[in-house]
């Protein structure tokens, strides 16, 4: 019970940081909204999707997934900063549950994602995004997105505790997330890619997430269904399995790493 309370206090800290530095929240939302607008108007005109509603219908799930994938970087750099400032030492010297700090941070970052996704959803609606599947499916879609972000923030914890410097953390997170989001079906069909990349793109968790969200938002997943492979046939199940795998691996190793931080 006290472990739960400790965790909530850390999560509260995360949220208080947002109220003290509103810029963080503002820029965390401006960036994805900017992506929505850029992709919608730069590529939207020249990509023919053959579906009613146009490119923006396919684009929005892609950008949602990209945004939650970047949670990894946010979690990692926040934690690296705490480590550098010696805050982690203080937390570790307190008589609190040793996992409270990392669990609290992952939860706090997920709450930030709720706000960011809501703002993006509104921006998407303004530029013509209209999910057609019904409220329940859309809600499940967003829960899926939040869960994916949550799983990746555990990778972020590991990265943040492993790197020696906040700038390195930035770069490492970027190197992990950027290829994953672009070697996927998020913005363009994978069918135009070289064969080897197509395989990668189809099995890429970002692609399966995007495909799952497209399904949940009432679209047929056109981008990337090349070979009738398992992940493109069953994106929901595949994504779910990916999230479980990521958490099963990264929660224990990140908590272990935290307990031995700077050992």
């Amino acid at each position: 019970m006290s472990a739960f309370k400790d965790t909530m206090i850390i999560t509260q800290r995360q949220l208080r940081l947002l109220t003290r530095v509103p810029e963080v929240l503002i820029f965390s939302t401006i960036q994805p909204v900017m992506f929505v607008l850029l992709f919608r108007y730069v590529f939207g005109g020249s990509i023919d999707t053959g579906q009613p509603g146009g490119y923006v219908q396919l684009l929005m799930p892609g950008i949602f997934v990209q945004t939650v994938a970047f949670t990894l970087a946010g979690t990692a750099s926040g934690l690296a900063e705490d480590l550098k400032k010696g805050l982690i030492d203080r937390f570790r010297s307190l008589p609190i549950s040793q996992s409270a700090l990392v669990v609290g941070r992952t939860l706090g970052d997920s709450l930030l994602n709720i706000v960011v996704l809501a703002v993006m959803g509104i921006a998407g609606y303004v530029v013509g995004w209209r999910p057609t599947s019904g409220a329940l499916s859309v809600a499940i879609g967003f829960i899926f997105l939040l869960s994916f972000g949550y799983a990746l923030s555990w990778v972020g914890i590991y990265v943040g505790l492993s790197a020696s410097d906040a700038r390195v953390v930035q770069n490492v997170s970027f190197i992990i997330t950027f290829p994953l989001t672009f070697l996927s079906n998020a913005f363009a069909p994978t069918t135009g890619m070289p064969r080897a990349l197509q395989y990668f793109a189809e099995w890429n968790p970002v692609s399966t997430m995007v495909a799952a969200c497209r399904e949940l938002f009432g679209l047929e997943n056109e981008f990337g269904a090349t070979a009738g492979s398992f992940p493109s046939e069953y994106p929901l199940i595949t994504s779910f399995i990916y999230m479980i795998i990521i958490m099963v691996i990264f929660i224990p190793i990140s908590v272990r790493k935290y307990k031995r931080a700077a050992d």
Partner: protein
């Protein structure tokens, strides 16, 4: 009763390539202040981190407040306070936010945490800046807040790792008076420092460490005695040097040494002020008027130099004691 006991602690980094602690042993009597004095890289921070449960030693034992640090770290955390070289508080949050948050993490109720935060802010003269973010604080204010955060639940044993490193003289003075105040309150304190005068000022006992071992320990006075008693120093005009050296040697009973540049003659004496008076009388009889004269007690600098063969402020190797973290700028 001993509040802190460290026995034979060994800690190596990089697979044994760097030996931060080399069979280090020390103890602190309840209610007293031990200062661990040593240059950068001597192992001070590693020692504190082990005692504060942040680091596991490769071998050795440690007890804090009667609890085994390695077997029951979670119980040790309930009785200690730690304040490090870095002000380990959240810079974005206000001083008040920080103290309330840490209070809650110490499982005080919200009301209690607030009351305690207000009390500590008052005590450390931070009430006026309570609602400002820490990043607007001066170095001294940050350290005081950090110290306040380590005192939330009135720890039995307090570890202060270089509490004044990087502070300006005023900040250091403020910090010293805060620490002296605490010590009067009866806390057991283990304090590390690379400043000799700090150890002299605050500690009941000093443990000098170098290359991961305690190389000497005792009270400040005892350590000074270990180096030798007082020294008589006189400065005379150049043409009087030879004669004055004779006088000083006679009274001291030891060989007098000369610093030619300063024209300063010095020699160890055992009778203190009496030797000084005798010297002045003899010099007067010989018609020599010294330009300067004095008795000098050995400083802790002298202690360090004679114990280690190098000066205390010397940075002899890369700071490895904080593990991966980079050393703060000097």
């Amino acid at each position: 009763m001993k509040s802190v006991i460290a026995e034979d602690l060994v800690k190596t980094y990089r697979n044994g390539a760097v030996r931060a602690l080399d069979h280090l042993s020390l103890d602190v009597e309840e209610g007293t202040v031990l200062s661990v004095l040593g240059p950068n890289g001597a192992g001070k921070t590693t020692c504190v981190r082990i005692l504060a449960t942040l680091l596991r030693p490769d071998s050795g034992h440690a007890m804090v407040g009667g609890i085994d640090v390695i077997k029951h770290p979670e119980k040790v955390r309930e009785v200690i306070g730690l304040s490090g070289q870095y002000a380990a508080v959240d810079e974005i949050l206000t001083g008040w936010d920080n103290l309330v948050m840490f209070g809650q993490l110490y499982h005080l109720g919200k009301k209690e945490a607030i009351a305690r935060a207000d009390e500590l802010l008052e005590r450390f003269s931070l009430t006026e800046s309570a609602k400002r973010p820490i990043k607007t604080y001066s170095g001294g204010m940050r350290r005081r807040l950090d110290l306040a955060a380590s005192l939330i639940v009135k720890p039995k044993v307090l570890f202060l790792d270089e509490p004044t490193t990087g502070l300006d003289p005023r900040g250091r003075q403020e910090m010293w008076s805060v620490i002296e105040e605490l010590v009067k309150g009866g806390v057991t304190l283990l304090l590390t420092t690379q400043y000799l005068e700090e150890a002299d000022q605050l500690a009941d006992e000093i443990a000098v460490i170098d290359h991961g071992k305690v190389i000497a320990r005792g009270t400040s006075d005892a350590l000074k005695k270990q180096v030798g008693g007082e020294r008589l120093e006189i400065v005379v005009e150049a043409h009087n040097i030879a004669k004055a050296m004779e006088v000083v040697a006679t009274i001291s009973g030891n060989k007098a040494t000369l610093d030619e540049g300063l024209r300063m003659i010095s020699a160890p004496v055992s009778t203190g002020a009496t030797a000084l008076i005798e010297t002045l009388r003899s010099l007067d009889l010989a018609g020599i008027h010294p330009l300067d004269v004095g008795l000098k007690r050995p400083s802790l600098d002298d202690v360090f130099l004679s114990l280690t063969g190098h000066a205390a402020e010397e940075t002899n190797e890369e700071e490895v004691t904080t593990g991966r973290r980079k050393k703060a700028k000097k």
